[in-house]
């Protein structure tokens, strides 16, 4: 339950926030990759629990998810392994709602809480369905925070509802599209950052399509920080490990601190 408090505290010192994404179970050394990200200056880590049909993900994270499933990852195994992490950075898991519903809200929330995981991000569970099904209430009762997404197509009325229900941070989708690297920062990123900052005091992180240190620095000038997924996962798929992860996350950190 200390994702939001940790991010707020860092933000209040003037630091720009950095949250890398790592696909859980992707290779034997994936926990070392998470540790390397934390050591290199991540403010929190997003761990993906692979799902067979990830509709919010582009080709890179699709491939990583499939590879992880092929070598035997399960929701239980990823959460159990994550519980071994002894890092300072808070952890959020990112997965799809079917995984949560299949396990049952209470069991999923309690597994997260017992593993020391702070939050969950479920990109196919929009705020109204989340409240209708009661996931937010169950998560809260187990001390698990609910990161929600806002998109360029989100109406003002929904944005109020999303901000009121979100905890941990507000995930600002920088563009119309699924996860994946892009050549440049989308022109919707600046307006998304500004719009969400004006709407809420919860930390606002831009994500989706933020691929390079330069893009991360530019995006973070419009909000409180960034989530970087596919650019890191691509390096891991290309046989990169903890060393490459450390190097890349450190380069993002340096760009945000410059």
């Amino acid at each position: 339950m200390h994702l939001e408090s940790t991010l707020r505290a860092s933000r209040d010192t003037g630091r720009k926030l950095l949250v890398p994404y790592v696909t859980g179970g992707l290779g034997k050394d994936w926990l070392d990759v998470v540790r390397a990200c934390s050591d290199a200056g991540a403010d929190a880590i997003e761990i993906g629990i692979p799902f067979s049909d990830p509709v919010m993900d582009g080709v890179t994270i699709q491939e990583a998810s499939q590879r992880s499933l092929d070598i035997g990852a399960t929701p239980e195994s990823v959460i159990a392994q994550a519980s071994e992490l002894d890092i300072a950075a808070p952890i959020a898991v990112m997965t799809y709602y079917n995984i949560v519903a299949h396990m049952g809200h209470a069991r999923f929330a309690s597994l997260l809480a017992n593993a020391g995981i702070d939050a969950a991000i479920l990109p196919d569970l929009p705020v109204d369905e989340m409240k209708r099904g009661g996931w937010d209430a169950t998560a809260r009762s187990h001390g698990v925070e609910c990161v929600l997404l806002a998109s360029p197509t989100t109406t003002d009325a929904r944005l109020v509802e999303i901000c009121a229900a979100a905890s941990g941070f507000l995930y600002a989708v920088s563009l119309l599209g699924v996860t994946g690297e892009r050549k440049g920062l989308a022109n919707t990123a600046a307006s998304m950052g500004a719009r969400l900052k004006a709407a809420t005091d919860i930390p606002v992180l831009l994500g989706v399509g933020i691929s390079t240190p330069e893009q991360a620095a530019e995006a973070s000038s419009h909000c409180d920080g960034v989530v970087v997924g596919s650019a890191l996962v691509r390096r891991l798929l290309q046989s990169g490990g903890p060393i490459e992860a450390h190097k890349f996350v450190a380069s993002l950190r340096a760009a945000l601190d410059a």
Partner: protein, 411 residues
């Protein structure tokens, strides 16, 4: 409710019931999609509701169904097949529509809506290629850009339909992720929609996906059932069939058919799923018979899943039934017991394919061949001899002839 609209000899019956609040059919349905799509789904819901009560829209839809799609399609009484099976078999002939399957009904409605919303492009998923061909056809008719996502495995086994779509001006994108079949084509179509939602309409091909698709597609397909009910009454001297049978992939031809009969308590509704190599083998597409509740492709419904909630690959000889889920209204009809869901194996479908061809001179698509194959097995068992059975022949078998020729060899 509006009075029936008549155009080109087509009769559109009154509107059917909407799902309850938040797009639910019983405990199924809903809208489980990325936030980016919510605004477009709300717009679509509002536009569809307005259009469906707008006489001008209904007249135009009805005219297109008549003058372009060739409706109404007949109900054919199958005398030789009836003698052979010992039940009275009537076929609702969706195989006789333009493009050769019921899919055209839905795409004409959605193309009209696309134009009404001011969008210039449609995307679609396709399994057997029937919905892709229908969408490409409607796009050509309306001057819309069109992109169709099709599993690479299906591109291989339905090469003729791929060629037809390209001829019609559509871009066909083979999907290689996952099992490279219909489920994965839906995933990629949804991803593309997330990226292009402001200019593009997702012309979903079945009674599945997030609200309002299951409701809207059922309404565009209910002309099948509404026509068939009247036609059966004229053949049966005012009576209704004892059984109404249709094959199920996502379930659009079945839902459209059932919509015309669901209020007739003495008519049993039967959906026939793909049993593939057999339900016990795990190689099938029987989401009602072997699935569990889940949240995939934007809806709560029944899906084939492993013990962790990962979606399983479906298997069927027919690309159109090769889907691990089912539309939410079917899940609700199964839960309430109003409809029952049976299955037919690949072998039974091939048997049905040959049987209908040789007894009636009607070559069915492999999808409805499952309904014929199931009937062949069920008569005298769960279907009493002497019953009257309406089967929806959802499409024609031209697309499958090469595949079956290869499987059976020389006859």
């Amino acid at each position: 409710m509006n009075p029936p609209v008549r155009g080109g000899g087509v009769i559109l019956g009154p509107q059917g019931p909407e799902p309850s609040e938040a797009g639910r059919f019983g405990e199924f349905g809903g809208r489980f999609v990325p936030e980016t799509l919510i605004a477009a789904l709300e717009e679509l819901e509002n536009e569809f509701r307005a259009a469906w009560h707008d006489d001008a829209f209904r007249s135009e839809f009805s005219d297109l169904l008549g003058s372009y799609a060739g409706r109404p399609t007949p109900v054919t009484e199958c005398h030789r097949l009836s003698d052979k099976l010992g039940v009275r078999v009537l076929l609702k002939r969706e195989d006789l529509t333009h493009t050769g399957s019921h899919k055209i009904n839905n795409v004409l409605g959605q193309a009209l809506l696309t134009r009404r919303m001011g969008k210039g492009r449609v995307i679609a998923e396709t399994g057997a290629g029937q919905h892709g061909v229908a969408t490409a056809t409607a796009a050509a008719l309306f001057g819309l850009e069109c992109t169709v996502f099709m599993g690479a495995v299906d591109v291989e086994r339905q090469a003729l339909n791929v060629w037809r779509m390209r001829l019609l001006g559509a871009e066909v994108i083979p999907v290689t992720s996952g099992s490279a079949t219909l489920k994965d084509a839906v995933n990629d179509a949804m991803r593309e929609w997330v990226a292009s939602v402001e200019t593009t309409h997702y012309c979903l091909g079945s009674v599945m996906g997030p609200h309002p698709f299951p409701w809207m597609v059922r309404e565009f397909q209910r002309v099948v059932g509404d026509e068939a009910r009247e036609q059966c009454r004229s053949i049966l001297d005012g009576g209704d069939p004892d059984y109404v049978v249709a094959c199920i992939g996502g379930g659009s031809n079945a839902m459209g058919t059932f919509a015309g009969f669901v209020d007739l308590k003495d008519t049993a509704l039967v959906g026939v799923e793909a049993a593939g190599l057999g339900l016990e083998t795990g190689k099938h597409g029987a989401a009602v018979n072997r699935g569990v509740p889940g949240y995939v492709h934007g809806m709560r419904s029944l899906f084939l899943q492993d013990e962790h909630g990962q979606v399983l690959e479906a298997h069927s000889i027919s690309a159109g039934l090769d889907y691990p889920g089912i539309g939410p209204e079917h899940a609700a009809l199964a839960a309430s017991g109003r409809a029952r869901y049976e299955s037919a194996t690949d072998d039974e479908a091939v048997s049905g394919f040959v049987l209908l061809s040789s007894t009636e001179g009607i070559v069915p698509a492999l999808e409805p061949a499952h309904a014929i194959g199931w009937l062949e097995r069920a008569v005298g068992d769960t279907i009493p001899s002497g019953s009257t059975v309406l089967v929806t022949l959802s499409g024609r078998g031209d697309k499958d002839a090469a595949q079956i020729a290869e499987r059976l060899g020389s006859l």
